[in-house]
Amino acid sequence: MHNQRAPLFHLAKRTSLSPARAWTIRLASFVVAILIGGLIFLLLGDDPVSAYGAIITGSLGKKVAIRQTVKIAVPLLGTALAIAPCFKMRFWNIGAEGQITAGAIGATFFALNYYDKLPSPVLLIVMGLAGAVCGAFWAFIPAFFKARWGTNETLFTLMMNYIVIGLVKWLQGGPWEGKPGSQIIPNFASSAVLPKVFGIHCGWIIVLILTIFIYVYMRYSKHGYEIAVVGESENTARYAGMSVARITIRTMLLSGAISGLVGYMVASGANMTLYYSVADGVGFTAITVAWLAQLNPFAMIAISFLLAILDKGASTLQTVMNVPASISDIITGIFLFCMLASEFFINYRLVFRHDSGKEAVSE
């Protein structure tokens, strides 16, 4: 009567998984991603092996290529580090894009107006500070409204992005325009450009220092503890005598300051000027990086580097093999999807129908 069939499978939480097996699963998901990606290349009529070869050589093959790849990874890592404390606090800051841009504006102001008035090292430090302050200010506004009136931070931070991007467009065409009618801000003087270390602007050193800083901050500092408690339960935080409003604002100031610093590095180190797409979606991609790394700063290094390889490799692929530009996004999407899926299989296992019960019935 009610004797319906057992479900084909059901989910069971894993007892525990040795790190070795967890990494086997991660590796397997990587292989699956490569296979699915290969299928896409086949469908497009390309040879998967040479396509992947082009991605690898394009991103890691030559010194120049490696430098390009690192240059893509630096802002990704920096921004992921910036938003990690917010996400730990369950404050959905999706305004890193705008905070990067705001930071770039602050740095550019000093680059354009003080390039001949300050010695280069001082100028670069002032630009960095200006970037951090402007990024922090841009993050402070939504944080203040959230703390004071409980506004929705997701919408608020998102909208702030468009405002600041519009502001740069106005600067490009107005007060900071170089050649009249060009709609372009002139290139920075060499004194306002970040020096290179091993052929890459020294921003990579800054983000590595930030990685250690955020790791220690989140794990061992009182602030990090407060952030974790607020993220888990605001009631508990209140009960323990923490001021949720103050912690929210302080954390957003830090997050915005780091994003602003990233904006400074991109403008001064990579672009050597300011234009409206200075953030170029990094503020959003960094969300993926932060989540995939499960907010672990060291894992973020690996993930941002992997995404940079895919990004750089795919653009080489485009020129070498004449595949559509969107292929890069598709391949990146497949890799991200498989990586997320692997975390699921690390936490759960599927129990299939046949393995229990049946033999017991006959007793």
């Binding site: 009567m1 009610h2 004797n3 319906q4 069939r5 057992a6 479900p7 059901h10 069971a12 939480k13 894993r14 007892t15 525990s16 061992y220 500092s221 009182k222 602030h223 990090g224 503890y225 407060e226 974790a228 408690v229 888990e232 339960s233 009631n235 508990t236 209140r238 009960y239 323990a240 005598g241 129990v351 229990s356 019960g357 017991a360 019935v361």
Partner: protein, 513 residues
Amino acid sequence: MQENCAVEMRNITKNFGPVAANSNVSLSIRRGEILSLLGENGSGKTTLMNMLAGIYYPDSGQIFVNGEEVRITSPKDAFDCGIGMIHQHFKLVSVLSAAENVVLGLDGPAVLDIKEVGRRIKEICERYSFSVSPEKKVYDMSVSEKQTLEIVKVLYRGADILILDEPTAVLTPQETEKLFDVLRAMKADGKAIVIITHKLHEVMELADRVAVLRRGEFAGEMMVRDTNPQEMTNMMVGRPISLNIERPDPVDPAERLVIKGLTVVDSEGITKLDNVTFTAMGGEILGIAGIAGSGQKELLEAVAGLQPVKSGSILYTPEDAPPSELVGKTPKQISNLGVSLAFVPEDRLGMGLVGGMGMTGNMLLRSWRRDKGVFIHAKEPSELAQRIKEELEVMTPSVRYPVRRLSGGNVQKVLVGREIASSPSVLMTAYAVRGLDINTSYTIYNLLTSQKMKGVAVIFVGEDLDVLLELCDRILVLYDGKVSGIVDARTADKEQIGLMMTRLSGKGGNADA
């Protein structure tokens, strides 16, 4: 297999990560019988029943209903088998009426004939002599009405196997009696009934048979008429324990908290506390009784500084310092003065604990501020966590294991243990034993009593009147935010307090109820 066997569970195993909630449990449920499922916290009673109700699916084992093997993968499957479960936390939509809640999720004709539903609800009510008005909205209902509605809901779906998870936890003694009458009527009607409870006197009063789980395993079963509370407790715990609460007389009670005319109005303008006046003494346990939502939470929160006070005063006199006014101080200042609150909310974790952190992280919640410098120092909290784990027998794989994954009783031990460890001079606990098994409850009662003997003013908000009467020195009864009376726990009786909980005695003091 007996003829009247409604459900048989064979060798059921269910694991949650590293925790074995049930291992190899076999249990049978019979028609025309009330089975009581007993066990300590985390012994897997609710998990076992949830597998009958389609909430969980067993990792291995078999379930037979009416002699046929079934697979229950969803609550709908459970209803198809005639199994209905009334959960501890009600699953009702408060903006809908009783009748609408009853038909929610059922297949039916395209046009809903709500009158017909109402008629059938009336029919069910008459059959077992309880009352539900089909048009009444759930938000207008009392706790006991909601529970009745939950029962009607499963009966409407044709359930003849009923599982009730701690149904009396939220009821007054009078309401409990009414519920028991209904259950007896259903039993006479040939239904199979399972009741999960911690209260042994209820088992003795109501059940025919009792099955005991211990740490996820089946510990044994017996007919209630052949057993006694002591034997059941021993089986539950696995060793003999004493069932008496020791109540030494207070030594040199001194005024610790003097509360005068305390009035609290919530953000929606509803008066939660109305002119509450009482005194809590050091060296005594003051019990607070009342139906859920009578202002207990607001009272404790107001003292702890978590609830804005509209008017009134809370004067706090520490043992060795001049009195100070608590109204207007921040939670931080108040807790620094030595006033501690161990509030166990309904979801146990919402306040006071951080679910994602381990015991150590939760101990830090009390001590983090005292640490000097920028960094947290985990050594001392880690030692404290270890000590509480050992002294209170907290079942956890490690002090770093997230407390959210612990069973309710263990979570409470962590919370209460931490509050006591902060050596407060006023210790407020709300529902400290909510849903706790006997063994753990007694551990906590003894902890509170030893605090009292140290001269601490203990305020104990409780649900179980038997316990309040045995544990406390005085009992304050709240009704609708007002003090309905304060009685001497050594002379008061249950009926008296039960009546004071439902209406104002008008006089305060030892009212003749």
